[in-house]
Amino acid sequence: MEVKVVLCEILLPLLLLCLHAWRFVDGVQFEVSSRTTKCVAEEIQSDVLVVGDYKIVSSSEENLRITIKVTSPYGKQLHHQENVASGQFAFTSKESGNFMACFWLQNAPPNANVNLALDWKTGVGAKDWASIAKKDKLEGMELELRKLEEAVESIHHEMLYLRDREAEMRDLNEVTNSRVAWFGIMSLLVCLGVAGWQLWHLKSFFERKKLL
């Protein structure tokens, strides 16, 4: 009985670790060449948890290392690592905007390239579900339903954000519309005013020169 309990205690974390390692294969992969910087960005709202895992999946030569820099929309550096083959970063966004992660090869010969896998999770996907499950003692289906509940909430937030953006755009369009009308009338008035001034000025000039 004791041996079985010990086995379960060792195997469950191992299984969860395998789970995590298996999920690590997910995520988008792209190439980084030796002479270019590859930057990916995402528009993220404030107060959102962002977790990123990156690792070199395949490379054209041995011992290629990359440098990564993650910056906030105002240029503040959130994560900076040089000469690594893999790593991870996590932060909570303080402001909303474009968060960018840039990768480039360090000290590499020309024509070298690597395939980099970046697993970039925000919001619901970034939460540590394993520890939440352990803390609240949730099992299989309950955990999945809790995940779905959080996903629905985040969808609701995104819809509200979209609605606000649409309201802003409508305001912008109405301002543009009224400005078109005003500037058109103003242009016409300027044109007419200038024509009137021209006539008056030339008339008085010719009368002075005794030509009229």
């Binding site: 079985k4 309990v5 086995l7 379960c8 195997l11 299984l15 969860l16 789970l19 999920r23 997910d26 995520g27 988008v28 992969q29 792209f30 190439e31 990916v40 960005a41 995402e42 528009e43 395939n115 697993d119 970039w120 999770k121 619901v124 996907g125 099992e139 299989g140 289906m141 999945e144 339903l145 995940k147 779905l148 996903a151 629905v152 985040s154 969808i155 995104e158 819809m159 954000y161 979209l162 953006r165 649409e166 755009m169 912008l172 301002v175 543009t176 400005r179 078109v180 500037f183 103003m186 044109c191 200038v194 024509a195 001034w197 021209q198 030339l202 000039f205 010719f206 020169k209 030509l211």
Partner: protein, 211 residues
Amino acid sequence: MRIWALLLGIAATALSVCLRTADGLTMTVHKVECVYEEVEYDGDMVYGNFVVQDYEIFWGSDHPGIELVVTGPQGNKVHSSTSKEAEKFEFRAPRRGLYKFCFHNPALAPEDLTFYIHVGHIPGIQDLAQDENLKPVNVKIAQLAEALEAVSAEIRYMQNRDKRHRSTNESTQRRLIAYTVAESVMLLGASIGQVYLIQQLFSKRIGYNRV
């Protein structure tokens, strides 16, 4: 033994019904940019969208658009589509493996592109038969998760399109103000110049006559 089975059940359920990660990122496309996605099972549904955020185009009809070509793990072309503005795509992956999504930009100016790719898996009837811990309710939960992911994808698509339309509208307003001011200044300048030129012409002629 029961704890063992329960743990295996949890692991199996979690493994098969996990919310898959979806990837939505913005990239700058110079000539060709390729992105790879791993498809875990045969017959998985791959869907996504891409929105061209062009900030540099002067005339709207200038740009030929960005072309997306999807190649399978054996090198066969699975899907292709071209779009000037935004496009959604969806296909069923015939084989598991690494799929390559390439965005081609035939124009000279680099373009910003926001794309979103999602690989969804729903356990099918064979998985139900093979794994005794997988119940039909798990399949329903997986379908629900996929449906929610599809809704989330649509919202992202609309948000990216809204970003693009917003930049067009702001550019419209800037152009309006700039062109109105420039037009007024040039009109004033041209008319004052006309008046003084005419004055000079007539002054010269009279001067000529006196001589």
